[in-house]
């Protein structure tokens, strides 16, 4: 439990620090972004059926699954257009293989974008190969328009390398 409290405290510290900075830099933004991370815990019931729950990350080690989420909301009076959320993957995680295949991703640090199946990666010998989940460096979501008062949530699953 001690660890859980520490983790929650860490999340609170960052949220209280990061939000005012961005608000200051951008003026009063009508759009709010709120990030969170949850760990995926797999449990087995008495019948042997596996089920997963999202829990606060307490103890996490390589191979564990995390879900990074971002809640967005348009708190202004006007609609916002061409809403694009870009999320660089932390280097210590890779995109989980069960991520949405339609997710727009980059495997070159955000230079080129597409669904994973359309991207390639250069091998050391100059040949190329189809990009894999572990190659993904960024994920991106595009929403054409958010009406005033509208909100939503974006998520991507990751596995600790």
């Amino acid at each position: 439990m001690k660890t859980l409290k520490q983790m929650v405290a860490a999340l609170l510290v960052f949220s209280s620090v990061a939000m005012p900075i961005s608000a200051h830099a951008q003026g009063r933004s009508p759009v709010s972004l709120s990030g969170d991370v949850m760990a995926v815990e797999t449990s087995v019931d008495e019948a042997g059926n596996e089920s997963t729950q999202l829990v606060e990350p307490s103890v996490i080690v390589p191979g564990d699954r995390l879900v990074f989420g971002t809640d967005y909301a348009n708190q202004g009076a006007e609609p916002v257009e061409n809403f694009v959320v870009t999320n660089p993957l932390p280097s210590a995680v890779r995109l989980a293989p069960d991520a949405d295949a339609e997710l727009t991703v980059s495997v070159d640090g955000g230079v080129t974008w597409g669904t994973l199946g359309t991207l390639t990666v250069a091998n050391e010998d100059g040949t190329t190969r189809t990009a894999a989940h572990a190659d993904v460096t960024h994920v991106r979501w595009t929403i054409a328009s958010i009406a005033p008062g509208e909100s939503g949530r974006l998520e991507y699953p990751a596995i600790i390398r």
Binding site: K2, T3, M7, A10, L11, F14, S15, V17, A18, M19, I21, S22, Q26, S29, P30, V31, S32, L33, S34, G35, D36, V37, P57, S58, V59, I60, V61, P62, G63, L66, F68, T70, Y72, G76, E78, P79, V80, E81, N82, F83, V84, V85, T86, N87, P88, L89, P90, A92, V93, R94, P97, D98, A132, H133, A134, I146, L154, I159, I160, R161
Partner: protein, 319 residues
């Protein structure tokens, strides 16, 4: 659902090797999303808060025997070689325990020492390789670092050829061991937690000794042919000596050299030395044998495995 289950499983299998060298304990995973959009005032940018999680320390270890097979031993000292590998993602030391009384042993050895291959040459060097003192604990191994260790044992007197004995080496993470998932709060890198991995944070491996007591038995016989077609030893009779070298046991002997003097009152017949019915020259250095009337015969059989029989013959004439 079953249609989707198979490809998902396959993908997990393909990506499994990425787990092998995991992210180091203490690594901070920080995630921030950035949004760009357009409102009435033009393009805008907003960042999310940054969420941070710290990677905890996974406790995992493997022990393997580096001996390619059973080690042939005789009463006295024997050395077994093992490798301890930190399979976790953070620095960890391991307490080592050598157990010479493994179920099924034909005999039990006595553990003398556990030593570290300090000079890394793969061979136990007394006086060079560090001997661990109780409680025998390795130095701190980095993630994925392997350490070669030796267990020095004494094989008791009275063992018989072919008897076998196992010696088990156990390594336990100093931070703690237990069922996978056991958490040691605050005991990981940078004050993070340590969690027991799939190995239980302990592992053991068995090395095997097999007694190879090898004996060499020499049997010498002679047959005489006299000049008259009989078998009497009279001047001019030819005596053919046969030496049977019978090497018995499960081991082998090195540098086995069979020598014999030419008996008094007889003379070696040049060019009659044979080994296993193949002629050898009398000269030294060109093959396994050499012979002369003054120095007798000598046949170098080299390393001979147990269960091998060699036959050496030579002729003399009675003076």
């Amino acid at each position: 659902m079953s249609l989707f289950a198979t490809p998902v499983v396959a993908l997990f299998t393909l990506s499994a090797p990425a787990y092998a060298d995991g992210v180091s304990a203490g690594t901070l995973i920080e995630n921030t999303a950035t949004a760009t959009y357009e409102d009435g005032d033009g393009p805008q940018t907003v960042d999310s808060n940054t969420v941070v999680v710290r990677v905890d320390e996974l406790l995992d270890v493997t022990v393997t025997s580096l001996d390619s097979g059973p080690i042939g031993v005789q009463p006295g000292e024997a050395v077994l070689t093992y490798e301890v590998t930190n399979q976790g993602n953070g620095p960890e030391a391991y307490e080592l325990t050598a157990n010479p009384t493994v179920a099924g042993n034909d005999f039990d050895t006595t553990v003398v020492n556990i030593a570290v291959d300090t000079n890394g040459n793969g061979t136990y060097d007394p006086g060079v390789d560090e001997i661990l003192t109780a409680p025998e604990t390795t130095q701190v191994l980095d993630a994925d670092e392997a350490l070669r260790v030796f267990v020095i044992v004494t094989v008791p007197a009275g063992v018989t050829d072919g008897q076998a004995s196992d010696v088990e080496l156990l390594a336990e993470a100093v931070t703690g061991t237990g069922a996978p998932g056991t958490v040691f709060a605050g005991r990981g890198v940078d004050g993070g937690d340590a969690i027991v991995g799939a190995t239980g944070a302990d592992d053991s491996a068995v090395g095997t000794l097999i007694v190879g007591i090898t004996s060499v038995d020499l049997t010498k016989s002679v047959s005489v042919t006299d000049p008259f077609g009989g078998t009497n030893a009279v001047p001019g009779s030819v005596a053919t000596f046969t030496i049977i070298a019978n090497v018995a046991g499960s081991g082998s002997v090195d540098d086995l050299v069979v020598t014999d003097a030419i008996p008094e009152g007889t003379t070696y017949v040049d060019g009659t030395l044979t080994l296993d019915s193949v002629d050898l020259t009398d000269a030294s250095g060109d093959d396994a044998g050499e012979a002369s009337d003054a120095d007798g015969i000598s046949v170098d059989l080299g390393t001979v495995a147990g269960g091998t029989v060699h036959s050496i013959t030579f002729d003399v004439t009675v003076d």
